[in-house]
Subunit: 198 residues, 2 copies
């Protein structure tokens, strides 16, 4: 049987989300049909508001709601310590550990010649500009512990060291080949505190 | 760290959906942030449209987009065969088997004194009215093969048999204690074809 169009459209849209298969999409659709109209409207509004109000922080390239992100604006953060990550979700993962009080720089990817991602596709030029203009003592390279992340860390270390800035790499202890995003807080926190100089 | 409000609001709304934990919600939120604004708008629209356009079919109480649902309107379906299920999602599950060409009646629940669900909370009065006014030869009871579903089937069989209508129950073969919604097509199709008279 074909679903009514309004249900099928929602199933199609839900099916495009990461981690949502046909059965999950159906469960969510029927849950929404059973829920009050207000709840569904709030979900729809929160999706639209998200795209309206969130943009990139022009300093660190994390997501921000105001002009700059809350971390860049926070005067209690250590401005001399900079953590470089691949994606905004990695900022959230590190913040959850509570082990880090410096600032961030989001590359929006990692070097991956196979996927056509070179230095021009990353926010690495913006990183080098920050290192030239800000007073930074240490850069923590927290790219993913997989091939692309390690390559990116090695490449950045080579670029940054001539500036006489200390460059460190988060410790292994994370499962190799894994994703920072899925590490538990304790492991990720431990990897941060035992970071080593490159 | 606190997420920006617009992200946190979406995470809260996503977290209320069935099967979506904090990590899934975060993956979806970041996926939406990375996707184009059109895609997010389409998802939001499909949620609102769903609640606007879908209501209950006044005949079978499945979800319908027009006045009546597509199955009740379909002249090629066998109008003398009626399948009784607990929820609209069970109609979808049975339709996917391709083994059934009759019509449906959705009870919207099963008898469960513990949860305060008695005959008044179900669409059983509407079922009895259909059996009195329509020419029906057989009622297939396809409530879930768990305690509430079996109780409901036994109760309905007792109500319907005096009307000289054949009453059948889908075969066991489904894992007992399970949910119809999660059965695979083959098992559910087999359970339908080997239904037995009560």
């Amino acid at each position: 049987m074909a679903y009514p169009d309004a249900i099928q459209n929602l199933l199609d849209e839900l099916g495009r989300l990461p981690g949502i298969g046909p059965k999950s999409a159906q469960r969510i659709a029927y849950w929404l049909l059973d829920s009050d109209a207000d709840g569904a409207q709030r979900l729809a509004d929160s999706i639209v508001t998200l795209k309206d109000q969130i943009h990139f922080c022009p300093t660190c390239w994390d997501f921000a709601e105001g002009e700059q992100c809350a971390i860049c604006l926070d005067p209690t953060r250590n401005a001399r310590l900079l953590c470089v990550v691949e994606e905004p979700r990695d900022v959230a993962a590190i913040e959850r550990t509570g082990e880090y009080r410096g600032r961030y720089h989001v590359l929006h990817g990692a070097l991956s010649p196979m996927d056509g991602i070179g230095p021009e596709q990353l926010r690495s030029r913006e990183l080098m500009a920050r290192l030239a203009s800000e007073d930074i003592d240490e850069v923590v390279l927290a790219t993913n512990p997989n091939v692309e992340g390690e390559t990116t860390a090695t490449w950045l270390a080579r670029l940054i060291k001539p500036l006489a800035i200390k460059v460190t790499r988060i410790a292994s202890g994370l499962p190799v080949g894994g994703d920072l995003e899925f590490a538990d807080e304790v492991t990720l926190g431990h990897a941060l505190t035992s970071r080593r100089e490159l």
